[in-house]
């Protein structure tokens, strides 16, 4: 499924950010993820031009970045990143 996705590069970067956030939420106990690392992963997403090709993706990523800065719970950040991923898919299927 991932192979058929439009904007695959951006989707992969968003998934990486989601994986980091989920790692914090699930507390796998085998790595220490800092908010800085999560913020960095989200900034990596924002650097891609692809995020402007679908509506709202940049907005959601910006909100996720703000949420990390504000110390919001991991699930809130994850939810916003999933929204970005969904918007990317919807934008790509038009």
């Amino acid at each position: 499924m991932a192979g058929r996705e439009p904007h695959r590069g951006a989707a992969e970067r968003i998934r990486k950010a989601i994986a980091l956030v989920n790692s914090v939420a699930d507390d796998a106990g085998d790595e220490d993820i800092t908010p800085t690392e999560i913020a960095e992963a989200i900034r990596d997403c924002l650097e891609l031009g692809e995020v402007d090709e679908a509506p709202n993706v940049r907005r959601y990523l910006g909100e996720a970045l703000d949420a990390v800065s504000d110390g919001m719970p991991a699930d809130f950040v994850a939810m916003t990143l999933y929204a970005a991923l969904g918007a990317l898919r919807e934008g790509g299927s038009r």
Binding site: M1, A2, R15, K16, I18, A19, L20, N22, S23, A25, D26, D27, A28, G29, D30, E31, I33, P73, D75, F76, A78, M79, Y82, G86
Partner: protein, 217 residues
Amino acid sequence: MKSAEGRGRTLDEAVDAALIELNESRRHVDVKILSETASETIVEVTVIDPAAAVLGTTMPAAPANGKGETARGLVEGLLKHMGVRAQVSVRTGADPITLDISGRDLGALIGWRGETLRALQAVTNVMVGKHLAEGERIIVDVERYRQRREHTVREIAMRAARQVKMTGDAITLDAMQPFERRAIHLALEGDPDVTSSSIGEEPERRVVVGPRKSAED
């Protein structure tokens, strides 16, 4: 545990038939689909905690159960808005609180490698967040997908441990999600001969199972 088989043209009809036989409400049962054809659905309905079911009718719910019920109501509403017909129940005795979603054709709710399920869980935790204590979370499972995955990775861990004991060589497993890695670490933590650690970066982080070095080494 009390259980009954129900048959009907639809999943709802089959569950209702079993519930009538059990004289029980949906919130206290676990539903397992035994067979499903275009004309008939057969389910096995099991009362998950008869004591809780009886108490629930006469006494206020325990605090944890109250949170579970709040979450269950919210997820039911969410699924209704999404146009998904499914039953949501609170898994009895589970810690953390776990919601089981069951129904027909729920593959879309699980999504690619459980991605949609994770998104649903994140939304649920955000919605229920104010009712939860710090660090407390709700786990959402669809058709026991997560439970099955945990079971599968534990089996993988045990197999890897056996191989490590035979060969003495470390084994690197496939990339896994954090809850799967956690299940492996927990499965092997009591094994005196092997140890588990993780390498790599998300989402390609992998568990390495290797021989445990003794203090003399």
